[in-house]
Amino acid sequence: MEPTPAAIEFCDVSYALPNGHKLLSGLNLQVRRGETLILLGRSGSGKTTTLKLINRLLQPTSGRILVNGAPTVESDVIRLRRSMGYVIQEVGLFPHYTVERNIGLVPRIEGWSAERIQLRVAQLLELVGLDAAIVSRYPHQLSGGQRQRVGVARALAADPAILLMDEPFGALDALTRDQLQREFLSLQQRLHKTVVFVTHDLHEALRLGSRIALMEAGQLVGIFTPQEFLHSSDPLAAAYVQAFGNGTTPATSGGES
Protein backbone atom coordinates (compact mmCIF):
# COMPACT_ATOMS: atom_id res chain seq x y z
CA MET A 1 0.00 0.00 0.00
CA GLU A 2 2.50 2.60 -0.98
CA PRO A 3 1.03 5.91 -2.04
CA THR A 4 4.37 7.01 -3.49
CA PRO A 5 6.38 4.85 -5.87
CA ALA A 6 9.38 2.91 -4.61
CA ALA A 7 12.66 4.82 -4.72
CA ILE A 8 14.08 2.27 -7.14
CA GLU A 9 12.23 -0.53 -8.86
CA PHE A 10 13.53 -3.32 -11.10
CA CYS A 11 10.88 -4.73 -13.43
CA ASP A 12 11.92 -8.05 -14.93
CA VAL A 13 15.44 -6.82 -15.66
CA SER A 14 18.00 -8.95 -17.46
CA TYR A 15 21.49 -8.09 -18.49
CA ALA A 16 23.74 -10.04 -20.81
CA LEU A 17 27.20 -9.32 -22.14
CA PRO A 18 27.51 -8.70 -25.90
CA ASN A 19 28.77 -12.29 -26.23
CA GLY A 20 25.45 -13.52 -24.86
CA HIS A 21 26.68 -14.48 -21.39
CA LYS A 22 23.86 -13.69 -18.96
CA LEU A 23 24.91 -11.83 -15.83
CA LEU A 24 21.45 -11.07 -14.54
CA SER A 25 18.09 -12.61 -15.38
CA GLY A 26 14.54 -11.64 -14.57
CA LEU A 27 15.27 -9.40 -11.61
CA ASN A 28 12.27 -7.93 -9.81
CA LEU A 29 13.15 -5.80 -6.84
CA GLN A 30 11.91 -2.74 -5.01
CA VAL A 31 14.05 -0.45 -2.93
CA ARG A 32 12.02 1.51 -0.40
CA ARG A 33 12.63 5.13 0.33
CA GLY A 34 15.06 5.64 3.20
CA GLU A 35 16.05 2.00 3.60
CA THR A 36 19.46 0.42 3.27
CA LEU A 37 19.05 -2.47 0.89
CA ILE A 38 21.98 -4.85 0.87
CA LEU A 39 22.83 -6.82 -2.25
CA LEU A 40 24.56 -9.87 -0.83
CA GLY A 41 26.18 -12.54 -2.92
CA ARG A 42 29.45 -14.06 -3.95
CA SER A 43 31.63 -12.89 -6.82
CA GLY A 44 29.80 -13.19 -10.10
CA SER A 45 26.35 -13.29 -8.52
CA GLY A 46 25.31 -10.11 -10.33
CA LYS A 47 25.24 -7.66 -7.43
CA THR A 48 27.61 -5.08 -8.92
CA THR A 49 25.81 -5.44 -12.27
CA THR A 50 22.55 -4.68 -10.48
CA LEU A 51 24.05 -1.57 -8.92
CA LYS A 52 25.48 -0.27 -12.19
CA LEU A 53 22.12 -0.72 -13.90
CA ILE A 54 20.63 1.81 -11.50
CA ASN A 55 22.88 4.70 -12.58
CA ARG A 56 23.03 3.45 -16.15
CA LEU A 57 26.70 2.61 -16.19
CA LEU A 58 25.15 -0.50 -17.76
CA GLN A 59 22.03 -0.72 -19.91
CA PRO A 60 19.62 -3.60 -19.30
CA THR A 61 19.22 -6.08 -22.14
CA SER A 62 15.54 -6.34 -21.27
CA GLY A 63 13.16 -5.05 -18.63
CA ARG A 64 13.24 -1.61 -17.08
CA ILE A 65 14.34 0.22 -14.01
CA LEU A 66 12.28 2.96 -12.40
CA VAL A 67 13.72 5.63 -10.15
CA ASN A 68 11.00 7.48 -8.24
CA GLY A 69 8.52 5.94 -10.63
CA ALA A 70 10.21 7.20 -13.79
CA PRO A 71 11.98 4.84 -16.19
CA THR A 72 15.71 5.54 -16.11
CA VAL A 73 16.02 5.27 -19.89
CA GLU A 74 13.77 8.29 -20.26
CA SER A 75 15.74 10.54 -17.94
CA ASP A 76 18.86 12.43 -18.87
CA VAL A 77 21.74 10.14 -17.94
CA ILE A 78 23.93 12.92 -16.53
CA ARG A 79 21.09 14.30 -14.37
CA LEU A 80 20.24 10.78 -13.24
CA ARG A 81 23.80 10.09 -12.11
CA ARG A 82 24.16 13.42 -10.36
CA SER A 83 20.99 12.68 -8.42
CA MET A 84 22.74 9.65 -6.88
CA GLY A 85 25.90 9.33 -4.86
CA TYR A 86 28.27 6.60 -6.01
CA VAL A 87 30.96 5.02 -3.85
CA ILE A 88 33.17 2.17 -5.02
CA GLN A 89 35.68 -0.06 -3.28
CA GLU A 90 38.66 1.41 -5.09
CA VAL A 91 37.26 4.81 -4.04
CA GLY A 92 38.25 6.38 -7.36
CA LEU A 93 39.29 9.71 -5.88
CA PHE A 94 40.87 11.95 -8.48
CA PRO A 95 44.58 11.76 -7.67
CA HIS A 96 45.34 15.18 -9.15
CA TYR A 97 42.71 16.97 -7.06
CA THR A 98 42.90 17.99 -3.43
CA VAL A 99 40.35 16.65 -0.97
CA GLU A 100 38.42 19.89 -1.32
CA ARG A 101 38.23 19.69 -5.10
CA ASN A 102 37.36 16.01 -5.01
CA ILE A 103 34.43 16.58 -2.68
CA GLY A 104 33.38 19.79 -4.40
CA LEU A 105 33.52 18.44 -7.95
CA VAL A 106 29.84 17.86 -8.60
CA PRO A 107 28.78 21.11 -6.88
CA ARG A 108 31.40 22.92 -8.97
CA ILE A 109 30.20 21.54 -12.31
CA GLU A 110 26.66 22.23 -11.12
CA GLY A 111 27.71 25.86 -10.89
CA TRP A 112 27.64 26.44 -7.14
CA SER A 113 29.42 29.55 -5.87
CA ALA A 114 32.88 29.12 -4.37
CA GLU A 115 31.74 30.09 -0.87
CA ARG A 116 28.85 27.68 -0.95
CA ILE A 117 31.13 24.84 -2.05
CA GLN A 118 33.64 25.68 0.67
CA LEU A 119 30.90 25.66 3.27
CA ARG A 120 29.50 22.37 1.99
CA VAL A 121 32.93 20.72 1.98
CA ALA A 122 33.54 21.77 5.58
CA GLN A 123 30.12 20.50 6.56
CA LEU A 124 30.69 17.14 4.85
CA LEU A 125 34.14 16.65 6.35
CA GLU A 126 32.65 17.08 9.78
CA LEU A 127 29.83 14.72 8.88
CA VAL A 128 32.20 11.91 7.93
CA GLY A 129 34.50 12.58 10.87
CA LEU A 130 37.47 14.13 9.11
CA ASP A 131 39.64 17.00 10.29
CA ALA A 132 39.01 20.19 8.31
CA ALA A 133 42.79 20.57 7.98
CA ILE A 134 42.97 17.87 5.31
CA VAL A 135 41.11 19.88 2.64
CA SER A 136 44.32 20.81 0.89
CA ARG A 137 45.82 17.32 0.92
CA TYR A 138 45.97 14.98 -2.05
CA PRO A 139 44.48 11.47 -1.96
CA HIS A 140 47.90 9.81 -1.83
CA GLN A 141 48.60 11.64 1.41
CA LEU A 142 45.63 10.01 3.14
CA SER A 143 45.17 6.65 4.87
CA GLY A 144 42.81 4.08 3.38
CA GLY A 145 40.11 4.91 5.91
CA GLN A 146 40.44 8.63 5.28
CA ARG A 147 40.24 8.09 1.53
CA GLN A 148 37.07 6.06 1.90
CA ARG A 149 35.55 8.77 4.11
CA VAL A 150 36.39 11.37 1.48
CA GLY A 151 34.74 9.07 -1.07
CA VAL A 152 31.56 9.02 1.01
CA ALA A 153 31.69 12.80 1.50
CA ARG A 154 32.09 13.26 -2.25
CA ALA A 155 29.08 11.04 -2.94
CA LEU A 156 27.01 13.11 -0.51
CA ALA A 157 28.19 16.46 -1.86
CA ALA A 158 25.13 17.46 -3.86
CA ASP A 159 22.82 15.92 -1.24
CA PRO A 160 21.47 13.09 -3.40
CA ALA A 161 18.48 11.13 -2.14
CA ILE A 162 19.97 7.86 -3.31
CA LEU A 163 23.38 6.44 -2.47
CA LEU A 164 24.92 3.54 -4.40
CA MET A 165 27.76 1.82 -2.59
CA ASP A 166 29.80 -1.00 -4.08
CA GLU A 167 31.75 -2.79 -1.33
CA PRO A 168 32.85 0.58 -0.02
CA PHE A 169 34.59 -0.87 3.03
CA GLY A 170 35.90 -4.03 1.38
CA ALA A 171 39.51 -2.98 1.05
CA LEU A 172 39.92 -1.68 4.60
CA ASP A 173 41.50 -3.42 7.57
CA ALA A 174 39.10 -4.96 10.08
CA LEU A 175 39.34 -2.20 12.68
CA THR A 176 38.88 0.66 10.22
CA ARG A 177 36.04 -1.21 8.58
CA ASP A 178 34.31 -1.68 11.91
CA GLN A 179 34.65 2.01 12.66
CA LEU A 180 33.35 3.09 9.26
CA GLN A 181 30.40 0.71 9.53
CA ARG A 182 29.51 2.26 12.85
CA GLU A 183 29.79 5.74 11.37
CA PHE A 184 27.70 4.69 8.40
CA LEU A 185 24.92 3.62 10.76
CA SER A 186 24.87 6.87 12.69
CA LEU A 187 25.09 8.82 9.43
CA GLN A 188 22.15 6.92 8.01
CA GLN A 189 20.12 7.56 11.16
CA ARG A 190 20.50 11.26 10.55
CA LEU A 191 20.28 11.40 6.75
CA HIS A 192 17.76 8.66 5.84
CA LYS A 193 19.13 8.21 2.36
CA THR A 194 17.93 5.43 0.14
CA VAL A 195 21.01 3.24 0.05
CA VAL A 196 21.80 0.27 -2.16
CA PHE A 197 24.85 -1.42 -0.71
CA VAL A 198 26.80 -4.25 -2.31
CA THR A 199 28.78 -6.62 -0.13
CA HIS A 200 29.78 -10.27 0.14
CA ASP A 201 30.24 -10.03 3.89
CA LEU A 202 27.25 -11.35 5.84
CA HIS A 203 28.27 -9.55 9.03
CA GLU A 204 28.29 -6.26 7.19
CA ALA A 205 24.94 -7.09 5.60
CA LEU A 206 23.32 -7.96 8.93
CA ARG A 207 24.75 -4.93 10.64
CA LEU A 208 23.94 -2.26 8.08
CA GLY A 209 20.95 -3.55 6.15
CA SER A 210 17.27 -2.82 6.59
CA ARG A 211 16.74 -5.68 4.17
CA ILE A 212 19.07 -8.10 2.48
CA ALA A 213 18.62 -9.19 -1.13
CA LEU A 214 20.47 -12.45 -1.56
CA MET A 215 21.76 -13.08 -5.06
CA GLU A 216 23.26 -16.10 -6.72
CA ALA A 217 24.26 -16.73 -10.34
CA GLY A 218 22.48 -13.68 -11.70
CA GLN A 219 19.24 -14.30 -9.88
CA LEU A 220 17.55 -12.97 -6.80
CA VAL A 221 17.23 -15.79 -4.26
CA GLY A 222 15.12 -13.82 -1.81
CA ILE A 223 14.76 -10.71 0.27
CA PHE A 224 15.10 -10.94 4.03
CA THR A 225 15.26 -8.68 7.02
CA PRO A 226 18.40 -9.42 9.02
CA GLN A 227 16.30 -11.39 11.55
CA GLU A 228 14.60 -13.41 8.83
CA PHE A 229 17.92 -14.09 7.18
CA LEU A 230 19.38 -15.64 10.32
CA HIS A 231 16.45 -18.01 10.68
CA SER A 232 15.74 -18.62 7.03
CA SER A 233 15.17 -22.14 5.80
CA ASP A 234 16.52 -21.18 2.38
CA PRO A 235 19.50 -23.47 1.81
CA LEU A 236 21.74 -20.69 0.45
CA ALA A 237 20.90 -18.29 3.27
CA ALA A 238 21.47 -21.07 5.76
CA ALA A 239 24.83 -21.84 4.13
CA TYR A 240 25.83 -18.18 4.55
CA VAL A 241 24.82 -18.18 8.19
CA GLN A 242 26.77 -21.33 8.77
CA ALA A 243 29.85 -20.10 6.96
CA PHE A 244 29.90 -16.82 8.86
CA GLY A 245 28.33 -18.12 12.02
CA ASN A 246 31.45 -19.29 13.82
CA GLY A 247 31.98 -15.84 15.24
CA THR A 248 34.95 -14.81 13.15
CA THR A 249 34.72 -12.68 10.08
CA PRO A 250 36.54 -14.36 7.24
CA ALA A 251 39.08 -12.13 5.55
CA THR A 252 37.44 -10.29 2.71
CA SER A 253 39.08 -11.18 -0.53
CA GLY A 254 38.26 -7.98 -2.33
CA GLY A 255 36.51 -9.84 -5.11
CA GLU A 256 33.69 -8.23 -7.01
CA SER A 257 30.67 -9.50 -8.78
Binding site: L57, I78, R81, Y86, I88, E90, G92, F94, L164
Partner: protein
Protein backbone atom coordinates in the same frame (compact mmCIF):
# COMPACT_ATOMS: atom_id res chain seq x y z
CA UNK B 1 91.73 27.23 -37.41
CA UNK B 2 90.13 25.26 -34.62
CA UNK B 3 86.45 24.79 -33.93
CA UNK B 4 86.17 27.32 -31.11
CA UNK B 5 87.73 30.02 -33.22
CA UNK B 6 85.42 29.19 -36.10
CA UNK B 7 82.33 29.38 -33.90
CA UNK B 8 83.44 32.69 -32.41
CA UNK B 9 84.34 34.23 -35.72
CA UNK B 10 81.10 33.15 -37.34
CA UNK B 11 78.90 33.60 -34.30
CA UNK B 12 76.40 35.65 -36.29
CA UNK B 13 75.77 32.80 -38.67
CA UNK B 14 75.81 30.18 -35.90
CA UNK B 15 73.08 32.06 -34.08
CA UNK B 16 71.08 32.54 -37.24
CA UNK B 17 71.21 28.88 -38.22
CA UNK B 18 70.42 27.81 -34.65
CA UNK B 19 67.34 30.04 -34.65
CA UNK B 20 66.28 28.62 -38.01
CA UNK B 21 66.76 25.16 -36.59
CA UNK B 22 64.64 26.00 -33.55
CA UNK B 23 61.96 27.46 -35.78
CA UNK B 24 61.71 24.27 -37.84
CA UNK B 25 61.57 22.08 -34.74
CA UNK B 26 59.23 24.39 -32.81
CA UNK B 27 56.63 24.84 -35.52
CA UNK B 28 56.61 21.18 -36.50
CA UNK B 29 56.29 20.06 -32.87
CA UNK B 30 53.43 22.47 -32.31
CA UNK B 31 51.63 21.14 -35.38
CA UNK B 32 52.30 17.54 -34.33
CA UNK B 33 50.75 18.25 -30.91
CA UNK B 34 47.74 20.01 -32.44
CA UNK B 35 47.10 17.08 -34.77
CA UNK B 36 48.49 14.18 -32.75
CA UNK B 37 46.77 14.76 -29.40
CA UNK B 38 43.22 14.76 -30.86
CA UNK B 39 44.09 11.70 -32.95
CA UNK B 40 45.44 9.97 -29.85
CA UNK B 41 42.28 10.80 -27.91
CA UNK B 42 40.16 9.54 -30.78
CA UNK B 43 41.99 6.23 -30.97
CA UNK B 44 41.77 5.80 -27.19
CA UNK B 45 38.03 6.44 -27.27
CA UNK B 46 37.14 4.54 -30.43
CA UNK B 47 38.97 1.23 -30.72
CA UNK B 48 38.11 1.07 -34.42
CA UNK B 49 40.25 4.12 -35.12
CA UNK B 50 43.19 2.84 -33.18
CA UNK B 51 44.73 0.58 -35.83
CA UNK B 52 44.44 2.84 -38.89
CA UNK B 53 45.64 5.92 -36.97
CA UNK B 54 48.64 4.32 -35.30
CA UNK B 55 49.32 2.25 -38.44
CA UNK B 56 49.60 5.31 -40.67
CA UNK B 57 51.76 7.17 -38.18
CA UNK B 58 53.98 4.12 -38.03
CA UNK B 59 54.17 3.89 -41.79
CA UNK B 60 55.49 7.45 -42.03
CA UNK B 61 58.40 6.46 -39.82
CA UNK B 62 59.52 3.86 -42.34
CA UNK B 63 60.02 6.47 -45.09
CA UNK B 64 63.66 7.57 -45.17
CA UNK B 65 63.75 11.25 -44.26
CA UNK B 66 65.82 12.36 -47.24
CA UNK B 67 63.36 10.61 -49.55
CA UNK B 68 60.38 12.24 -47.84
CA UNK B 69 61.92 15.69 -48.27
CA UNK B 70 62.44 14.83 -51.95
CA UNK B 71 58.91 13.50 -52.46
CA UNK B 72 57.43 16.73 -51.14
CA UNK B 73 59.48 19.02 -53.40
CA UNK B 74 57.14 18.91 -56.43
CA UNK B 75 53.99 19.45 -54.34
CA UNK B 76 52.39 22.80 -55.26
CA UNK B 77 52.53 25.63 -52.67
CA UNK B 78 54.55 23.38 -50.39
CA UNK B 79 57.42 23.15 -52.86
CA UNK B 80 57.68 26.93 -53.18
CA UNK B 81 59.51 27.25 -49.92
CA UNK B 82 61.90 24.69 -48.53
CA UNK B 83 60.99 25.42 -44.91
CA UNK B 84 57.36 24.47 -45.58
CA UNK B 85 58.49 21.07 -46.79
CA UNK B 86 60.82 20.64 -43.86
CA UNK B 87 58.12 21.57 -41.36
CA UNK B 88 55.59 19.19 -42.90
CA UNK B 89 58.07 16.32 -42.98
CA UNK B 90 59.17 16.93 -39.39
CA UNK B 91 55.53 17.14 -38.31
CA UNK B 92 54.77 13.79 -39.89
CA UNK B 93 57.70 12.17 -38.11
CA UNK B 94 56.74 13.74 -34.79
CA UNK B 95 53.16 12.45 -35.00
CA UNK B 96 53.86 8.88 -33.96
CA UNK B 97 55.30 9.51 -30.49
CA UNK B 98 52.63 12.13 -29.79
CA UNK B 99 49.70 9.95 -30.90
CA UNK B 100 51.06 6.83 -29.24
CA UNK B 101 51.73 8.50 -25.92
CA UNK B 102 48.36 10.25 -25.89
CA UNK B 103 46.71 6.91 -26.51
CA UNK B 104 48.79 5.14 -23.86
CA UNK B 105 48.36 7.95 -21.37
CA UNK B 106 44.59 8.03 -21.61
CA UNK B 107 44.28 4.27 -21.61
CA UNK B 108 46.52 4.18 -18.56
CA UNK B 109 44.27 6.28 -16.34
CA UNK B 110 43.06 4.16 -13.41
CA UNK B 111 39.74 2.62 -14.53
CA UNK B 112 38.33 3.10 -11.02
CA UNK B 113 38.89 6.85 -11.32
CA UNK B 114 37.18 6.96 -14.72
CA UNK B 115 34.28 4.87 -13.47
CA UNK B 116 33.86 7.01 -10.39
CA UNK B 117 33.81 10.11 -12.58
CA UNK B 118 31.29 8.60 -14.94
CA UNK B 119 29.15 7.37 -12.05
CA UNK B 120 29.18 10.85 -10.52
CA UNK B 121 27.66 12.23 -13.68
CA UNK B 122 30.59 13.83 -15.49
CA UNK B 123 29.90 14.28 -19.19
CA UNK B 124 32.35 12.77 -21.68
CA UNK B 125 33.91 16.19 -22.15
CA UNK B 126 34.25 16.89 -18.45
CA UNK B 127 35.76 13.45 -17.97
CA UNK B 128 38.27 14.14 -20.74
CA UNK B 129 39.34 17.62 -19.73
CA UNK B 130 39.11 17.37 -15.96
CA UNK B 131 40.23 13.80 -15.40
CA UNK B 132 41.73 11.90 -18.31
CA UNK B 133 43.89 14.57 -19.95
CA UNK B 134 45.33 15.97 -16.69
CA UNK B 135 46.20 12.45 -15.54
CA UNK B 136 47.68 11.52 -18.92
CA UNK B 137 49.55 14.80 -19.29
CA UNK B 138 52.98 13.61 -18.25
CA UNK B 139 52.81 10.57 -20.53
CA UNK B 140 51.70 12.78 -23.44
CA UNK B 141 54.48 15.18 -22.59
CA UNK B 142 57.11 12.46 -22.66
CA UNK B 143 55.94 11.69 -26.20
CA UNK B 144 56.40 15.34 -27.12
CA UNK B 145 59.85 15.21 -25.60
CA UNK B 146 60.82 12.23 -27.75
CA UNK B 147 59.41 14.02 -30.79
CA UNK B 148 61.45 17.16 -30.09
CA UNK B 149 64.73 15.32 -29.57
CA UNK B 150 64.26 13.29 -32.75
CA UNK B 151 63.24 16.42 -34.68
CA UNK B 152 66.36 18.33 -33.66
CA UNK B 153 68.44 15.59 -35.27
CA UNK B 154 66.21 15.16 -38.30
CA UNK B 155 66.06 18.88 -38.98
CA UNK B 156 69.75 18.88 -39.88
CA UNK B 157 68.77 16.95 -43.03
CA UNK B 158 66.39 19.78 -44.01
CA UNK B 159 69.42 21.73 -45.17
CA UNK B 160 69.72 19.26 -48.06
CA UNK B 161 66.67 20.88 -49.65
CA UNK B 162 67.74 24.36 -48.63
CA UNK B 163 65.52 24.79 -45.61
CA UNK B 164 68.37 26.12 -43.49
CA UNK B 165 69.20 25.18 -39.94
CA UNK B 166 72.39 23.81 -38.51
CA UNK B 167 72.50 21.20 -41.26
CA UNK B 168 73.87 23.96 -43.52
CA UNK B 169 77.26 23.72 -41.80
CA UNK B 170 77.18 19.96 -41.97
CA UNK B 171 76.38 19.75 -45.66
CA UNK B 172 78.84 22.52 -46.49
CA UNK B 173 81.49 20.71 -44.46
CA UNK B 174 80.76 17.45 -46.25
CA UNK B 175 81.10 19.14 -49.63
CA UNK B 176 84.37 20.83 -48.67
CA UNK B 177 85.69 17.80 -46.73
CA UNK B 178 86.04 20.12 -43.74
CA UNK B 179 85.55 18.29 -40.47
CA UNK B 180 85.50 21.46 -38.44
CA UNK B 181 82.62 22.82 -40.47
CA UNK B 182 80.73 19.55 -39.96
CA UNK B 183 81.32 19.77 -36.22
CA UNK B 184 80.25 23.41 -36.21
CA UNK B 185 76.81 22.16 -37.26
CA UNK B 186 76.76 18.85 -35.44
CA UNK B 187 77.86 20.03 -32.01
CA UNK B 188 75.33 22.86 -31.61
CA UNK B 189 72.64 20.45 -32.88
CA UNK B 190 73.67 17.87 -30.30
CA UNK B 191 73.74 20.50 -27.55
CA UNK B 192 70.29 21.62 -28.64
CA UNK B 193 68.96 18.05 -28.48
CA UNK B 194 70.46 17.48 -25.04
CA UNK B 195 69.18 20.78 -23.72
CA UNK B 196 65.69 20.06 -25.05
CA UNK B 197 65.77 16.57 -23.56
CA UNK B 198 66.91 17.85 -20.19
CA UNK B 199 64.58 20.83 -20.07
CA UNK B 200 61.51 18.92 -21.20
CA UNK B 201 62.42 16.05 -18.88
CA UNK B 202 62.43 18.46 -15.98
CA UNK B 203 59.03 19.80 -17.02
CA UNK B 204 57.68 16.29 -17.43
CA UNK B 205 58.62 15.43 -13.85
CA UNK B 206 56.76 18.46 -12.61
CA UNK B 207 53.67 17.39 -14.55
CA UNK B 208 53.56 13.93 -12.99
CA UNK B 209 50.29 13.54 -11.13
CA UNK B 210 50.72 12.82 -7.48
Amino acid sequence: MNLMQFLIQNHGQVVELTLEHLWLVGVSTLLAVLIGVPLGILSARRPLWNKPVLGSANLVQTIPSLALFGFLLPVPWLGERADRIAILALTLYALLPVIRNTYTGIRGVDPAVVEAGRGMGLTDQQLLFQVELPLALNVIFSGVRVAVVVSVGLATIAAAIGAGGLGEFIFRGLAMVNNQLILAGAIPAAVLALAADFGLGWLEKRLRPR
